[in-house]
């Protein structure tokens, strides 16, 4: 082996190793910084008396509502977005004219390229006014459901508006993964279904969906992972409060998310409060790592191919 060979081998192996070190470093430095805030005595510490951490007795009572808000907003985004995303994937893979399919797929991928702050501005100036009449309607007729109850917002800065923008933001990832796996359905299965006289929808039900079930599940989970960590849409659009609330149409009952809370309060916080925000970030890291871990595990268990992994990295 020549020296150049050896050096190059060490360099590339080292880079791969560095990736492991970086991920471990992310966890490690978050833990080191988060430690003081987690173990601090929240009711007695003057640094935690004001601002965002005012009135909490421990870190856990502070992070609890934030975790709830994060999960709840992502769930709304998923309920609104996932069916549409899977529909789009089906349209592109099995319904659209073959020649157009590539262009249409690219259009949806373009959604992923729009910066989140642009979606935030769009949500504020377009979505908020747009959904006000819709919110009034929901509140008037379906107000007896806890989800739609409460004093309806007149500004539109609600969980529903935030969830709607989040749903748009997670469309591309769910669509691109589902599309790839729909396209991988064995042609023979599809042709067999058609030969038995199925309509196109029956063919999809008989051949495509059974084959793609785990792929759809992990695509949805990856979409959930994206929604959990999305900051700007929530931070800019909704008027938040730290509470356990399921109301999505009010000004005062919007549960805050971890990411938006950290983004909004970080600039004005003192060092210990920043540590507290970093600790909530650690919680977010653990949650989204878990969700991604499960999604990737499902893909790898069902023999996900290269194409599927490629789609997921977009």
């Amino acid at each position: 082996m020549r020296p150049s060979d050896r050096i190059f081998r060490v360099l590339s192996t080292g880079s791969a190793g560095l990736i492991m070190v970086i991920l471990a470093g992310v966890a490690l430095f978050l833990i080191i910084k988060a430690g003081p805030a987690i173990v601090a005595n929240w009711s007695a510490n003057p640094d935690l008396a004001g601002g965002t951490t005012h009135g909490y007795t421990s870190f856990w009572s502070y992070v609890g509502p934030l975790v709830w808000g994060t999960l709840f907003s992502s769930l709304i985004a998923l309920v609104l977005g996932a069916p549409v995303a899977i529909g789009i994937a089906l349209f592109i893979s099995h319904y659209a004219p073959r020649r157009l399919a590539g262009v249409l797929g690219y259009l949806v991928d373009l959604l992923a390229a729009v910066p989140s702050v642009v979606f935030g501005l769009w949500g504020i100036f377009v979505i908020r006014p747009f959904i006000i009449p819709f919110q009034d309607w929901l509140n008037h007729y379906l107000g007896w459901i806890p989800l739609f109850s409460g004093q309806v917002s007149q500004t539109g800065s609600t969980m529903l508006a935030g969830g709607l923008v989040l749903a748009v933001m997670i469309l591309p990832i769910i669509t691109s993964i589902s599309r790839e796996i729909f396209l991988q359905t064995p042609k023979l299965h599809e042709e067999a279904a058609l030969a038995l006289g199925s309509t196109r929808w029956e063919m999809v039900k008989l051949a495509v969906f059974p084959y793609a079930r785990s792929g759809i599940l992990s695509a949805t989970l990856l979409g959930l992972g994206r929604a959990l960590g999305e900051t700007m849409a929530i931070a800019m659009i909704i008027s938040p409060a730290l509470l356990f609330s399921v109301r999505i149409l009010t000004d005062t009952g919007n549960s805050q998310t971890i990411a938006a809370n950290a983004a909004l309060n970080f600039p004005e916080s003192n060092p210990l409060q920043r540590d507290a925000l970093i600790a909530t970030g650690l919680a977010l890291f653990v949650i989204s790592f878990g969700v991604n871990f499960i999604a990737r595990w499902i893909i790898s268990r069902t023999g996900g191919s290269r194409r599927l992994r490629k789609a997921g990295s977009r």
Binding site: S15, L121, V126, G229, A263, F285
Partner: protein, 370 residues
């Protein structure tokens, strides 16, 4: 409406006791277009009486279309075909639902940002200027500091991520055995890393630099480190894909000539895959250039000009758009205007990066992969 005439002509067709998909009644070929036109017309007429709105019109038309097509097909054809037609309508509507936000976002940004996007806006440093003689504060609209900040922060992040990402991909494809624990761990971790929330990357960079440098750790370099955490997995993933496309015959031919592994990779494999790798890198840049949260956590924000990535706060276009909206100056309209300008400039950058990436991929792809 067309419905009655269609039903009239079609029910005259002979129907055997056992319905047969090939011979039983069928709707005419373009029935979906007719129904759509009918639905649009009827809902327009209905809304003309109650008060017209484009959104209401489209929603009502969509519902009317699905319902009438379903009923029509059930009556004339059979339930299975009706379901098929309704599902076809539903997935098409799903796709249109995705196009609406895309078009709406782009149009809003262009309309909002175009008035403020002048040469002065791009090349002047924004901020307020206090004139001591007249005691008046004039606000200068400008995004120069953010343009420079964006280029520096993203540039440094690219310089960090690209070598690490490409070398790691070379390790995964050229050196590692697929079943080796390290290869499997790295592959898996890279997959999981693509899902790290961007704000967590920002909090990580802030933690790292406060522990290393002290409490005043805001700097452009810190933001670059945050972006690198987000960028490395994207670069690894796309480079890996491209290296795997290089056919093994090329490598074997090179080895057979006695060329070393290092020279094979650098002289044969990389040149073959270089277009794809560059495309991947550019797409990765376009992904992170629009990040907001990690940058203002790691680099804070400022309207001052700062071209030194190693000290002091720095601003990017995305952060400027956010800060101008969230913390407007006394002249709120002007601040919003400048937020839109920054947003449009950012979208233009992203679009250009995407286009150039696609062009490179198309133009320089090796033969056979095109």
């Amino acid at each position: 409406m067309t419905a009655t005439t269609v039903a009239d002509t079609e029910t005259r067709a002979p129907r055997g006791p056992v319905p047969n998909a090939l011979t039983s009644a069928q709707l005419p070929r373009f029935v979906e277009l007719y129904t759509l036109a009918g639905a649009l017309a009827v809902s327009a007429a209905v809304l003309a009486m109650t008060g017209f709105s484009i959104v209401g019109w489209l929603v009502l038309s969509a519902v009317l279309y699905l319902v009438s097509l379903g009923i029509l097909s059930t009556v004339v054809e059979n339930r299975r075909k009706a379901t098929d037609r309704v599902v076809r309508g539903l997935v098409t509507i799903a796709f249109l639902l995705a196009v609406i936000p895309l078009v709406s976002t782009l149009v809003t940004v262009i309309i909002g940002g175009a008035p403020s996007l002048t040469w002065d806006f791009v090349t002047k440093t924004g901020g307020s200027v206090f004139d001591p003689s007249t005691l008046k504060v004039t606000i200068v609209q400008g995004a120069w500091q953010a343009v420079v900040g964006t280029l520096i922060i993203t540039g440094v992040a690219t310089l960090i991520s690209v070598p690490i990402g490409i070398l790691a991909a070379i390790y995964l494809v050229e050196y590692a055995q697929p079943q080796q624990w390290m290869a499997r761990t790295v592959t898996f971790l890279v997959d999981v890393m693509t899902g790290i929330p961007s704000i967590v990357a920002g909090l990580f960079a802030f933690s790292l630099f406060t522990l290393l440098v002290g409490p005043k750790a805001f700097s452009g370099f810190s933001a670059s480190v945050a972006l690198s955490v987000l960028m490395i997995p994207i670069v690894v993933r796309s480079t890996e894909e491209m290296l795997k496309l290089v056919s093994s015959e090329l490598r074997e031919a090179s080895f057979a000539l006695g060329v070393t592994k290092f020279a094979t990779i650098v002289r044969v494999v990389l040149p073959t895959a270089i277009a794809g790798i560059i495309t991947g890198v550019m797409l990765a840049i376009s992904r992170v250039i629009g990040e907001t949260a990690p940058i203002f956590i790691a680099a804070s924000f400022t309207s001052n000009f700062n071209a030194n990535p190693f000290s002091g706060p720095m601003e990017t276009l995305a952060v400027k758009a956010y800060a101008d909206y969230k913390f407007p100056s006394q002249d709120i309209a002007a601040s919003y205007q400048s937020a839109w300008g920054a947003a449009l400039l950012l979208v233009l950058l992203v679009v250009i990066l995407n286009l150039v990436a696609r062009i490179i991929a198309k133009a320089f792809a090796p033969r056979g992969l095109r």
